[in-house]
Amino acid sequence: MLQIPCPWCGPREDAEFDFGGEADIQRPADPDALDDAAWADYLFMRVNRRGVQREQWVHTAGCRRWFVVERDTVTNEILQASTMGRRP
């Protein structure tokens, strides 16, 4: 089990959350300006970092807010959780 510190509700069990994958992927402002390769990169390609990774989580069984978690993928240690909108 993982304890995830929801920025709104405090630490809760991982069963209350859903994982949303890599954080900080911005939807292109003008998708038509992208060629197929660049669009496919936005659509499909995700990093799977060994070490600290920024990822999106949502507190599905709680406040239903999305937020960003910094997690070490090796130790599963969660270094930080922050509300949406603050990009590094």
């Binding site: 089990m1 993982l2 304890q3 069990e13 859903d18 949303g20 911005q26 939807r27 003008d30 998708p31 038509d32 992208l34 197929d36 669009w39 496919a40 659509l43 999106q56 949502v58 599905t60 239903r64 807010r65 999305w66 599963n76 949406m84 909108g85």
Partner: protein
């Protein structure tokens, strides 16, 4: 009563409370306080089971959870419990206990002939022998499963009750031995909330099995008093009979608390258990240590036991594990057991010590008592058929030292910490050279203490326990000053005896000089021998995890508690490596077998999944509806009348809607209110079509795509007013769509002033459909003008229906004139009943989902999840005209990716079978021409298929490669019984292609 091996006095048993149970039909006598194992030993029953692979006779090896042999079957019928460990199961009056792996009986087991075949059942046997020919594997498996039975499953649903407890505490102490008790006291005194869990019915751990004194009183008495003091504190929860069986990340501990027998319980009464889910801030691991066995030939015969276990049976249960003992040891601890046994009147014939010069205090005492001590000696072989009869001793250089008659051999191979929980949670370990064992490294969550930390002896355990308890409490935020009121009397550090120095000398693989006598078992449960390990290494499986998987070492229900620590040393010696380089196989939950019922808790039967009900659920039930599961809903499939099949009923209901009027409960549809000044802009971004210009009061069918261009959901959205829309989603997509919309709002477009509210449960939805629905609605009473001009197709009106506030949508999923009437859920049943009553003159019929499916298929309306499967675009289903060219929307860019524009993509078409009566099976593959060739290229598959009562013929929808460009082509649908059904493709609309019936 005949308990020939029961000692006349002593033990933690209640001689005033005798009891009886049966073992394989034979009556066993015991006392309250006995385990099944101790009672069996007291009755002289050495043989307790047959081994897993070779069906060799096996006896009791240990006095605790580490025993690899003592698995028995309890009870009968639905209460049958396989895999119960006799060494930790309290004996109770009237129990029915059976041995496992024996057929036809324990004494005469047919399968033991397998032992003769042992040379032909080597390591990796399963992988090597039984894989070919492959088609015989089901037969092999059946025979193997019978031969390798581990007891029998219950014959019916478990009648016992199980429950979950969710708890938090500051410090969880695992084990109520001296270390655990001291830790719990230290932590509680500092103000921490403590849970103290122990698998035994009584606290004390190792103190129960020795004659040691603590604070001047017998150890067990001190433990009982200490536990009682702790239990009296409001901050401490003491849980006996509770096994911590799993430890996970973030300190999640799972424990099962067995229900203690209550006064007045009848034999075979409800048992059950509670499963605790605890997340403490810190854990003190005081789970003790397990003694290691030693290798010699036939080291699996009943009567071969851990030296520590012989003392445990003696002190705790007053049961003599034999009548004449020999010990085989690598250290001083065996001498204590030998002296205790001799003191109790069980003669000790010899002690074979591998050390050249055992000269400690205890060996001296043993010699003084007249016990023969052989230095630099080992047991070469155990002799006997169904139990130990004698042992063959020799010097380490191979010279014989005689054959000594005995019926008990105590093995003392040193101690290994029980670090299973620590390892389960991913904790690291270090090699302790003095112990020749892995000890847990202290980590953020876990504080090991006592035997679990490699400390031997009560004094060291008490010291370490007190330290660990204090440091765990401090780490959880509790320091000494914080809590003035100490629970538990007595000093924080009670006085006790220090253990003698072990003087341990490793003895893993018997020296070659002893000859390779066989068989020497490393893992008794899995029947893995020393030769198996040699062979495995020769075949190249060297990593300890490979050895484990190839031989099944440590994979039994005992989890290799005795085998793994021994195997590490053996594998290291065989490979000439340091044991730390070999490592230990990873332990996995559960520490001891857990009943499936305990894991399920209350989540069985009706409670396994919540059931969602519409306001009309009871009405449907009373009307005799047949139901289908749609997610957590149970929707009426059809309402069969007397003598009707579901199929008949659905056909009748279809015709009622086409010719007269029908009423459908569609309350399960998802409903989301999209509210705010930017609601229109938001909908434009998530739907393929436009919304901002939709006037209030009008409805529009919308299509939602994933960013990959695939259809995600569909449904009608109505504009309630200037800044408020109501979006209908599919029944199954309701939660997913809300989550999807929320995600975009929160993560990508936080600047949009939009709020989403699910109103699915607030509004019931009654779909009144058919040419006479207008008259029916009018008859039910409404203040809404219903004529065609005032209330046209694809609009909505608010008003009252049957006296109830309502939103009425003129939208249709059947192709008929239709009103979807939304009313507050608590008044829906009244409206439903009024509509049916008022519709009677017009021939109204309630209809179910089967008729709904047929009606929409006649019109070619897709169902997301039936015609689509996450790989279907709007272009594929012919909805290109819906796509807005003027704006961007989610998934739009993907629709111009080359792969989604290919002409050979599967596209939605209709199918007519040549024989109008022939309904093709749903899911049937479609091919150009029947052929025996395999693989036969598929053109597509049937997604929906029904008999259409309105058309009097079979109709189907299908996804066919390049299907839109070649309408009218001949295809064949494969039916399961090797038949080919000829069909012809057509436009996917069968009924009222112009939509004239919608606009009446």
């Amino acid at each position: 009563m005949s308990q020939p091996y029961r000692l006349p006095r002593g033990g933690r048993i209640d001689r005033g409370a005798p009891l009886q149970f049966t073992f394989d039909g034979r009556t066993i006598h015991g006392y309250q306080g006995d385990t099944l194992a101790s009672a069996l030993l007291a009755n002289g029953a050495a043989l307790i089971g047959r081994s897993f692979k070779y069906h060799r006779p096996r006896g009791i090896v240990a006095a605790g959870a580490e025993d690899p042999n003592a698995f028995v079957q309890l009870g009968r019928g639905a209460r049958a419990a396989p895999n119960r460990l006799a060494t930790v199961t309290p004996a109770a009056h009237g129990m029915q206990v059976r041995s496992v792996n024996a057929w036809p009986s324990l004494d005469y087991d047919v399968m033991s002939l397998l032992g003769l075949a042992a040379p032909f059942i080597p390591a990796g046997f399963y992988y090597k022998t039984l894989m070919w020919p492959r088609r015989l594997w089901p037969l092999y498996e059946r025979v193997l499963r019978r031969a390798a039975g581990l007891g029998r499953a219950p014959s019916g649903p478990d009648p016992d009750r199980y429950d979950y407890v969710h708890a938090r505490c500051d410090v969880l102490v695992v084990g109520a031995g001296p270390a655990g008790l001291a830790a719990a006291r230290a932590a509680a005194r500092r103000g921490a909330r403590v849970i103290l869990a122990d698998e035994q019915p009584q606290p004390g751990g190792s103190l129960l099995a020795s004659a040691e004194r603590v604070d001047g009183v017998p150890g067990h008495a001190w433990a009982a008093a200490a536990a009682a003091d702790l239990a009296a504190s409001p901050r401490v929860t003491v849980l006996p009979d509770t096994t911590v069986f799993g430890l996970y990340q973030s300190n999640l501990a799972l424990m099962v608390e067995r229900r203690r027998e209550q006064p007045g319980d009848a034999a075979g009464t409800e048992r059950g258990a509670r499963t605790w889910r605890v997340t403490p801030r810190r854990i003190v691991l005081a789970s003790g240590a397990h003694e290691r066995p030693l290798l010699c030939a036939n080291n699996d015969l009943p009567g071969v036991m851990l030296a520590s276990a012989t003392a445990a049976y003696l002190h705790r249960y007053a049961a003599a594990p034999g009548s004449r003992a020999v010990f085989f040891t690598t250290n001083d601890t065996a001498y204590r057991a030998a002296l205790d046994l001799a003191e109790a009147g069980v003669p000790v014939a010899a002690i074979a010590d591998v050390r050249a010069d055992p000269d400690g205090r205890l060996p001296a005492e043993a010699r003084a008592r007249g016990i023969q001590v052989l230095a630099a000696a080992a047991v070469r072989r155990v002799l006997g058929r169904r139990r130990v009869a004698a042992v063959e001793l020799c010097s380490l250089d191979g010279s014989p030292r005689g054959v000594v008659e005995c019926d008990l051999l105590g093995l003392a191979g040193g101690f290994a910490p029980a670090l299973h929980l620590h390892a389960q949670a991913g904790g690291r370990t270090d090699w302790d050279p003095a112990l020749a064992a892995f000890v847990p490294r202290r980590s953020n969550g876990v504080h090991p203490a006592g035997g679990a930390a490699g400390a031997l002896g009560t004094a060291a355990a008490l010291r370490q326990g007190a330290q660990a308890g204090a440091s765990a409490a401090a780490a959880a935020g509790f320091t000494a000053d914080a809590a003035p009121a100490p629970p538990g009397g007595g000093p924080e550090l009670p006085s006790a005896q220090d253990a003698p120095d072990l003087g341990f000398q490793p003895y893993w693989v018997p020296p070659n000089a002893l000859g390779r006598v066989k068989p020497q078992f490393v893992d008794l449960h899995e029947d893995v021998t020393l030769d198996d390990l040699r062979l495995t290494l020769r075949e190249g499986f060297e990593a300890v995890e490979h050895v484990k998987r190839y031989t099944t070492l440590g994979m039994g229900p005992d989890q290799g508690k005795l085998a793994n620590p021994l195997a590490t040393g053996v594998l290291a010696e065989l490979q000439g490596l340091h044991p730390a380089a070999v490592g230990a196989p990873r332990y996995r939950p559960a520490y001891t077998p857990v009943a499936l019922g305990a894991l399920a808790g209350r989540s069985v039967g009706a409670l396994s999944d919540p059931l969602r009900a519409t306001p009309m659920q009871a009405w449907h039930q009373a009307a005799g509806a047949r139901f289908e599961s749609v997610g957590q809903w149970r929707r009426p499939l059809a309402y069969p009348q007397r003598g009707e099949t579901v199929h008949d009923a659905a056909a009748r209901e279809c015709l009622a809607v086409r010719r007269r009027v029908g009423l459908l409960d569609s309350s399960t549809l998802g409903k989301i209110e999209v509210n705010g000044p930017d609601a229109g802009e938001f909908l434009e971004r998530v739907y393929v079509n436009t919304w901002k210009r939709l006037p209030p009061g009008r409805c529009r069918y919308g299509l939602m795509l994933g960013e990959d261009g695939m259809i995600l959901d569909d449904g009608v959205t109505a504009r309630l007013d200037e800044r408020r829309y109501l979006t209908f989603t599919s029944t199954s997509g309701a939660a997913e769509v809300l989550a999807w919309l929320e995600r975009w709002l929160q993560t990508e477009w936080p600047e949009l002033r939009v709020y989403l509210t699910s109103v699915s449960e607030h509004w019931a939805c009654l779909a009144l459909a058919g040419p006479r629905s207008r008259e029916t609605l009018a008859a039910a009473g409404t203040d809404i003008a219903l004529d065609r001009q005032a209330f046209p197709h694809m609009t909505f009106r608010a008003g009252r229906v049957a006296g109830v506030r309502a939103r009425v949508f003129r939208i249709s999923f059947s192709g008929e004139l239709s009103y979807e009437i939304n009313v507050p859920a608590d008044q829906a049943l009244h409206v439903w009943e009024t509509l049916l009553e008022c519709g009677r003159p017009f021939g109204i019929a309630p209809y179910g989902t089967e008729a709904m499916h047929v009606l929409r298929a006649e019109k070619g309306y897709v169902i997301v999840g039936q015609e689509t499967d996450g790989s279907v675009t709007p272009l594929d289903v012919g909805l290109r005209r819906m796509l807005s060219r003027r704006k961007d929307f989610l998934g739009k860019r993907s629709l111009s990716r080359p792969a989604l524009l290919r002409a050979d993509r599967k596209q939605l078409v209709g199918l007519r079978s040549d024989d109008p009566a022939q309904v093709v099976p749903e899911g049937a593959p479609l091919v150009d021409a029947p052929s025996r060739r395999r693989p036969l290229p598929m053109r597509g598959h049937v997604t929906s298929s029904y008999h259409s009562p309105a058309l009097g013929r079979a109709i189907a929808l299908a996804l066919v490669s390049g299907g839109r460009a070649s309408l009218g082509e001949r295809l064949y649908a494969a039916a399961p019984d090797d038949r080919w059904i000829p069909v012809r493709s057509c436009l996917p609309i069968f009924y009222d292609p112009t939509g004239a019936r919608l606009h009446v």
